[in-house]
Symmetry: C2
Subunit: 161 residues, 2 copies
């Protein structure tokens, strides 16, 4: 069956990027599921942002992640319910809610940073290794590569080396 998104080239580049991104995330999800806290992979990017940049207001978080503010508000609420972050109104400006990693959140990040993120990073780097040339060709190579060996298999093989 012809892959229409590939055939249409630039016209459907947006859909195609989204599709590849979703597959990468789904693959990464399987690797993250090993941790005891069940979180979606996109939540980890929020935690990573806090770990990297320190406490941030909701809007700043949105900006640093490149998503809209309502999306961050929702994710923060979810993570706060799980006890991984805290959102405390700022003293200077009561409109702002500063989002901070809790101790549990920091522990989770530390575990992920040590045990899981390097593997994902390595597996994706492996997937993209040796790519060159036009964007569409590189994307096709990624699609083919993922179809041939999903990320979790690349991690296992990498670990065996």
């Amino acid at each position: 069956m012809e892959d229409v998104l590939r055939s249409l080239g630039y016209l459907c580049l947006g859909s195609r990027l989204k599709r590849i991104g979703e597959q990468l995330q789904a693959d990464a999800q399987r690797l993250l599921d090993g941790l005891d806290v069940p979180l979606q992979s996109s939540q980890y990017t929020l935690l990573a942002a806090l770990d990297r940049l320190g406490p941030l207001a909701v809007g700043e978080l949105a900006q640093s992640l490149g998503v809209t503010q309502p999306g961050v508000t929702r994710s923060v609420s979810l993570l706060a319910e799980l006890g991984l972050v805290e959102a405390i109104p700022s003293n200077d400006d009561q409109r702002r809610r500063m989002v901070t990693l809790t101790e549990a959140g920091q522990r989770l990040v530390d575990v992920a940073k040590r045990d899981v993120w390097p593997r994902i990073d390595k597996a994706v780097a492996d997937l993209c290794q040796g790519l060159s040339g036009p964007l569409l060709d590189q994307l096709a190579a990624i699609e083919d590569g993922l179809a041939a060996a999903p990320l979790d298999r690349r991690v296992k093989e990498g670990a065996a080396q």
Copy 2:
């Protein structure tokens, strides 16, 4: 404000591809809004698939678009309500529902194919023109390019030439 997804490199490639894809689609949406039928850009890919490959069963459509079957089922229902496609149980096999462009659907595709899709294709090609090198660099260039001039502006400038 630091762009965390960029900083994290391969680790967040999935999120980043999704983010770029969403922005491209949003930009393309503004160009499509000119047509009289208000459709989301992802629905157009479904119509494009039918135009390109002819009538398809729901499952085949899902496969050719690279999405899951429930997603296609929902989109088809929506497009059927708008009178752009028809989904008729096959005679040979009552399990299959063959999806076909209606006359109105074909007209819409023809208009899009003539007036809009070439512009989008051209604008995205323009955006990606001259890209080379590692994937992450090309993605950064796309992000910067979109920030500097969204697709609709590229179309206008292209048309003026």
